[in-house]
Symmetry: D2
Subunit: 344 residues, 4 copies
Amino acid sequence: MIRFDSDYMEGAHPAVMEALMRANTVQTPGYGEDPFCARAAARIREKCALPDAAVHFLVGGTQTNRTVIVSLLRPHQGVVSADAGHIAVHETGAIENGGHKVLTLPSAKGKITGAAVEALCAAHFSDPSFEHMVQPGMVYISDPTEIGTVYTRPELEELYAVCRKRKLPLYIDGARLGCALVSSVCDYTLPEMARLCDVFTIGGTKLGALFGEAVVFTDPALAADFRYHIKQNGGMLAKGRLLGIQFEALMSGGLYEQIARHEVALAMRLRRGLEEKGWEFLVDSPTNQQFPILPDALLARLEPEFGFSRWQSMGRGMTAVRFCTGWAASEEQIDALLAAVGAP
Amino acid sequence: MIRFDSDYMEGAHPAVMEALMRANTVQTPGYGEDPFCARAAARIREKCALPDAAVHFLVGGTQTNRTVIVSLLRPHQGVVSADAGHIAVHETGAIENGGHKVLTLPSAKGKITGAAVEALCAAHFSDPSFEHMVQPGMVYISDPTEIGTVYTRPELEELYAVCRKRKLPLYIDGARLGCALVSSVCDYTLPEMARLCDVFTIGGTKLGALFGEAVVFTDPALAADFRYHIKQNGGMLAKGRLLGIQFEALMSGGLYEQIARHEVALAMRLRRGLEEKGWEFLVDSPTNQQFPILPDALLARLEPEFGFSRWQSMGRGMTAVRFCTGWAASEEQIDALLAAVGAP
Amino acid sequence: MIRFDSDYMEGAHPAVMEALMRANTVQTPGYGEDPFCARAAARIREKCALPDAAVHFLVGGTQTNRTVIVSLLRPHQGVVSADAGHIAVHETGAIENGGHKVLTLPSAKGKITGAAVEALCAAHFSDPSFEHMVQPGMVYISDPTEIGTVYTRPELEELYAVCRKRKLPLYIDGARLGCALVSSVCDYTLPEMARLCDVFTIGGTKLGALFGEAVVFTDPALAADFRYHIKQNGGMLAKGRLLGIQFEALMSGGLYEQIARHEVALAMRLRRGLEEKGWEFLVDSPTNQQFPILPDALLARLEPEFGFSRWQSMGRGMTAVRFCTGWAASEEQIDALLAAVGAP
Amino acid sequence: MIRFDSDYMEGAHPAVMEALMRANTVQTPGYGEDPFCARAAARIREKCALPDAAVHFLVGGTQTNRTVIVSLLRPHQGVVSADAGHIAVHETGAIENGGHKVLTLPSAKGKITGAAVEALCAAHFSDPSFEHMVQPGMVYISDPTEIGTVYTRPELEELYAVCRKRKLPLYIDGARLGCALVSSVCDYTLPEMARLCDVFTIGGTKLGALFGEAVVFTDPALAADFRYHIKQNGGMLAKGRLLGIQFEALMSGGLYEQIARHEVALAMRLRRGLEEKGWEFLVDSPTNQQFPILPDALLARLEPEFGFSRWQSMGRGMTAVRFCTGWAASEEQIDALLAAVGAP
């Protein structure tokens, strides 16, 4: 069976595993206060051209989203998100469990706009009952989005201008950030993106690490006492060095970008192959998630041999499914899938 | 520098690392629904002689304690704990952040008694203002305790009898469980202990894993919907297989017990060495944490060369410190420490 | 100025004030454990024909909704509500602050259907990622709804059948329950409604009391330890007797129904008057809230003399506004309003 | 039966009831945005000599404590309190339910000292594991305390100096504040006390109101968005005017002080009477709660005729009990109690 269910079907990129093996018997202090984490953070600050950024490492995405968001909001505030946002749909209410409403906006292709955030804020503060409603307190977006689309620079600029005007921290969930940055449509660099938000993550789990998310606060004042929050939310790894070792490896010699390019290139190979055969897609994704619309009968035939996720029924016997390429995906696997799918 | 600060100063036991390497490119489903986790859970059920137990794997201790406790309590209930309990002191209020008071009992040598729990319950329910006070809802102990002591079988039996009478689930935090079970004072086996509580953990982080805690619900009904709770509390690892791979390795061929015996044997070597030189101890610990009372001047001399934790000032220039032995500790390291400490 | 902003613009019905005065120097125990509360609860049980119901009294609506809902849900569960539901919109995220997501369903005329709840549950439990999503844990409706509409008996029966099938407690927020029960469209009695849900409230604040909501658990098992929850959520009044005194008065001699009929009769007088003049309404409300659609220019002229709430802009210079009639509203006030509004 | 169980055994002082009756049919906006609340707040600002203070009104004490505390803390912070503090013992864990640990200090006669707070902070921030522990975030005291004692001016000055140094808001729970201020030992005025803290309450429930606590933020910046918090925590009364009407009455013509003096005078009559007979007391209380130590046999005889609270068993057949005098207590009631108690 060949799995395209997600980008976390295998372990870590060999270079990451080697780094873990190499460091295995080195002794360090615990809880992320070790030289590996320090070096990894320094490399990230350098890559982002943010010498003063506060960089922290956590284990998983839901944990990271929860910890960042509860650390930034006051109790009466909520986080603005696309209705398709990961925090709104697929984190078992972790944000609400932390005490905060997710204020959802309808999303086009997974994205929200500055105009929609401004309209939400204007409506809130002009309502005579505003104190009876949750106050917008920050904005969450994911880039790439949950359906693989990528924010453009003008979109981020418009959104961040509203956020600054409304004093709402903008948080970018970059679980697959590398794939956005190397995608053909991306019109900004990492340092440029870092200047268009207040906090963002660089996801490791889906780009070659065993696990790990780096959180970058572009303004270190927002990260005050953040380690208390990590501990309280169960994200402080005793052997915190494991995060530093992995991120040091990923951030060295261009490995992170190399993995991202690999994932995206294979996804593009899949997309082109399906397009050439005449299949249509739910969305035009330039990153490592592809959402072709396939007949249910075909899906039933594919399922014993290929792993994928059913995303959305399109009616009339057709379903949009997700194929995802990870660091270990190969051209052979893609070609096997294309052969099995065939033409409509 | 030789570090005895804690038992998480290095990576994982070589056999664990080998297992991770071996499985690295195998594809599996995510979120712990993989064959490695299934096999690891089966081995744990077998070792506990609990064929129906529900077994789950989480990443870290605070995360595990928080998730288990919030899953078992209703909002008006609190968890009874020793005042020295990890959840009461060193988890940044994770339990309170989850909505629940930690109801502390004074502890003798880190332990609480069934009689004290019964007295707390009797006082609560006989108070005319009982509804104005937090209701005892479950009991938390750690075994070994935070200061290395081990519950005896009669102590557990007395405690569990009270818990059953009062309908309070008993939860044993076994972050260093292996060290308790192999200690010279332990008068129960794992299956016997498993019958004296409702849920317990088998800690991996401090016994040779990179990370990981196995949670065992002896009554699977208590684990209903537990995976939702894991996800909500940020503990569901995308590559959940990492936990299964590690625990399968630890639970095979007696590796877990072997590591535990190694840790305890080295701690006993340290203890005997210090005792022979004439030093006294804060507590009589039969496990891998030792708490000698040493002069501050000596500690200042040791600090550049040896890692340890200052535990408690004893006055008159003496301090109780903690030395901890992990899977990678060696006789040479212990002997170097003994030589450096010298005699009073 | 004549206020129709809401039904809490004045104090209490004279009979309620008299009861408070009469009891003022009587000594009773605190916290609702007094004879007034006991008698009020007994009358409510009798009126509901539920001799075993658990009846509690709280001060306000948001407090009551929060307390009931957090007492019934486990942490990973959410409460299903109309998207226009009070808990979803106008309680400053009290439910989320209590840890739970409000799972909203689109509402037609403020109501949700059993079919929609069933579809939500079916979708949840058939989703392979169900554990990554909030589990439906109970259902909340308001009757009358926030826009004055009233559930019919078949609607309640369909909804409750789904709730029982899915084991979801059904909670009816009856902040204006009296107005629903006396409305021309209501096809059930209070005892009949009480059998079609698990817990409901009988609102006092908007029907002649100074404040107060009676919570009726039709199954007393659901109310286990409910007084702890009241206290924890800040709803236990020291002089709890105040609630008992008021509800005893309201529940005696048909006062509650009399007030409800008065409120609804005046609202119908307003509605007929406006209809006769040719105005249209946002919704066909048979209760004490009316939502005519009026020109903005007219509203500007009315505002110095009449209190009302702007509800929703309808475009083209028209706005739907809310007029609400309380226990103290009079025919003269209605007629003054009608005269001031005039014809289109 | 004559009840001294607490100071909330009756309704409200006649002047308060009259004010409620007088205002009963006046129409006002809801939710505390009415002229009564505005005037009451103005009077309080004047009495406190704090023209810029933010004043809000809530219904009950637990609700007020919860709302104030959660509005001031970040998630990783706790509130420092005497171990006998109301929030630590008798609010069903409302603070923990709001997410925060109560960091208790041993109390002498119900009070804590600046030195103890400073020691707690020093210990916290010098601990290498400080991020694993709850950070002190504010300080809570009650004045008078739960056992009737009153802070002195030097005690408040020392405490507040530490709070300012450590940037911890100091919150004084004044549920019975009037009784402290009129007590024979009190060496400060209300304006003087107001300058020695950041937020305090003036309790109404126990001093002649039906219910109500006024919250005074001496620095209005701390009250930013406080009305959202009131609503979220279920404390926003629809007929919020009821709080304004009552506090306007209490704060006019010296009524609040007159009631306080009455309560304290009767408590002193009780105390002197018992002292003259030779009884001893648990604590030397100068306010309206008295804690004589009486034989259990005597208590059993008193119970059918007199209400009181059993406070603490003293051993050897003796129990400390609490007698509390409210606005409606009379000299005749005190004398009847003294006659019934007799001499040892």
